[in-house]
């Protein structure tokens, strides 16, 4: 099916917010093409009427709707590379 080219890697890298070097793009294109060529084997299987499996867990996930203590703001901000006034600071997004 898909043949992975440098252009494919470029497109996907943009989606994933990864800046890659030209060497990385070429190596990844070749390696991913190999991996996907290997993964082609699953295309031949008959999967009609087979439900997709997203996880092996149970769904006992609901608890009573009672507020529980969360991480205090100072602790949540403590590991940030740049925090100010109780907020995470990032480069300007709008205007400028």
């Amino acid at each position: 099916m898909a043949r992975v080219t440098v252009e494919t890697v470029d497109h996907v890298a943009r989606l994933a917010h990864l800046s890659l070097t030209p060497e990385e793009r070429e190596i990844f294109a070749r390696q991913l093409d190999e991996v996907l060529a290997y993964a082609e084997s699953i295309q031949a299987l008959d999967t009609r009427d087979v439900e997709p499996m997203s996880h092996a867990g149970t769904s006992e996930v609901l608890r009573d709707d009672v507020p529980a203590p969360e991480l205090p703001r100072e602790q949540a901000l403590a590991a940030a590379p740049d925090a100010d006034g109780g907020l995470f600071r990032v480069p300007r997004i709008i205007g400028g």
């Binding site: 890697v9 800046s19 990844f28 190999e34 499996m53 867990g57 403590a78 940030a80 480069p91 300007r92």
Partner: protein, 490 residues
């Protein structure tokens, strides 16, 4: 004193409880052992000596005050650096988290400490648990204590090497596609991946959330069972943890092999397995048969597609999970020259190593428009077929046996340039993660002087049968008593 680093968890807990030796002495002996041999192994990323001694003294003080002895009193453990401990660095083997100290402690670690275990430090791993050799660590390689020009396996290679070398009595790892079992096999120790949902993932850095599971690494099945009994169980902080009773695991090991139905998927094992591994595996099956087990042939018709399925599902989930490393809330941030998108891109390009980038690219690709149905959705359906294979096989067998790895520990650098070859070495371990079932690896001899692992797979939530079968095997042989020729004063 040096003899303390050779003791089992069971023996340490018994002697500490009897106040025959103090938890502090046990911790000191292991810290000394780390100082003595870890320079040549590289198992630890962070040794928390003062904290370990303080915790050990707390265990001793509680016992001196007449407290009832906890099940792992004074047992020194090494924690894979994928699990958070409040105030201690968590790197996950990645430069992108260099300097991060989490504000909470993983439930599995908290349970060990509440049971009297003493955390010695954090161990090396493949970056974000992506790898089968621990060579993808952003910080250092770890060497196999059996042959230091070889890898310890991965991704929990640091914990496995630390336990094999007597630097820790037990350890915790995480297993997404074999990352507990495969390094345990390559380092000649025991590793258990419990059923998906059996152990809380709270405080475990996420790789592939539908596959990740925390579990123990130890030098005997009994020790692994003792640790599993402590870490297993429901946790409200993890929505995927199962609300299931945990039966006694350590006190109920003596059932023996008689009557046990062991399924062997011979067809699946027919090609690509190292000769020495095949002969050690056959000898293990023969030993269990002689002890009264019934060996039956089982068929797992779809497991030959497990690697393809796994590397689609796991990378898709990883690409989503690793989106959080954006240089905003924690970890390292790279410049970006005042532009947000460039800041994201440069932070991630500098912070992640090649294997992590490769998997993010692959995972983003299989989820992207135009390829989702052909890859991701199809892989999820094949995952259903693989799970059904196991359901059918467990109709005629109580456990399924395979080698843990098709190859023994390979040389450092041998497979780093060919990712597909590295992925193919996971063939026997990934099916359990896809199906969500428990898996145990235990030593079953040597091939060319290197440890071989016997893998036993069980029904969901039936860790007890796996551990009983493993313990029965250990009583038939002495393979689990073999120790690496590492030297030092043990």
């Amino acid at each position: 004193m040096s003899g303390l680093t050779a003791l089992s968890a069971t023996e340490i807990a018994r002697r500490v409880a009897a106040r025959d030796v103090s938890a502090e002495e046990v911790a000191r002996a292991h810290l000394d052992r780390i100082a003595e041999v870890d320079g040549g192994v590289g198992a630890f990323l962070h040794v928390a000596a003062e904290r370990a001694l303080a915790k050990a003294r707390q265990v001793d003080a509680a016992l001196a005050a007449g407290g009832s002895p906890p099940p792992l009193a004074g047992v020194p453990v090494a924690i894979k650096d994928v699990l958070d401990i409040e105030g201690m660095p968590t790197t996950c083997g990645s430069r992108i988290l260099d300097g991060y100290r989490p504000p909470f402690t993983a439930t599995a670690v908290a349970r060990l400490e509440a049971a009297g275990a003493v955390v010695l430090g954090k161990t090396n791993m493949d970056e974000f648990a992506m790898g089968s050799s621990t060579e993808n660590s952003g910080f250092q390689p770890t060497r196999n204590p059996w042959a230091r020009d070889r890898v310890p396996g991965g991704s929990s290679g640091g914990s496995a090497a630390a336990v094999a070398a007597g630097m820790a009595c037990g350890g915790l790892g995480s297993d997404t596609g074999g990352s507990i079992r495969q390094p345990a096999a390559m380092c000649g120790v025991v590793g258990l991946k419990p059923t998906y949902g059996r152990v809380s993932r709270y405080g475990l850095v996420a790789f592939a959330s539908s596959l990740d599971q925390v579990g123990p690494i130890a030098r005997s099945v009994e020790d692994a069972a003792r640790m599993a009994e402590v870490v297993c169980g429901w946790d409200p902080s993890d929505a995927t943890s199962a609300r299931r009773e945990v039966p006694p695991l350590a006190s109920d090991l003596g059932g023996g092999a008689r009557g046990l139905r062991i399924g062997v998927p011979w067809r699946f094992l027919s090609a690509g397995v190292d000769e020495g591994i095949t002969s050690a595996f056959r000898a293990a099956i023969d030993a269990l048969r002689s002890a009264g087990a019934e060996v039956v042939d089982v068929d797992l018709p779809h497991v030959s597609h497990a690697i393809a399925t796994y590397y689609i599902v796991a990378t898709a989930e990883a690409s989503s999970n690793l989106a959080r490393y954006d240089g905003v809330r924690y970890g390292r941030r790279a410049g970006g020259g005042g532009d947000l998108k460039r800041m994201y891109g440069e932070t991630r390009d500098r912070g992640f190593g090649p294997e992590v980038k490769r998997r993010i690219i692959l995972g983003t690709f299989v989820l992207s428009s135009g390829y989702y149905d052909a890859y991701y959705l199809r892989a999820q359906k094949v995952r259903t077929l693989i799970r059904r294979d196991f359901e059918q096989a467990f109709a005629t067998s109580d456990v399924i046996a395979t080698p843990t790895s098709p190859i023994p520990a390979f040389r450092l650098g041998e497979k780093t340039s060919d990712p597909l070859q590295m992925y193919l070495a996971d063939i026997f371990t990934v099916p359990a993660n896809l199906a969500g079932i428990p898996g145990l690896s235990l030593p079953c001899g040597l091939a060319g002087g290197l440890p071989v692992g016997l893998q036993l797979l069980g029904r969901p939530f039936d860790e007890a049968t796996l551990l009983r079968a493993g313990h029965a095997y250990e009583r038939l042989t002495t393979h689990h008593l073999a120790r690496p020729p590492l030297g030092g004063s043990r």
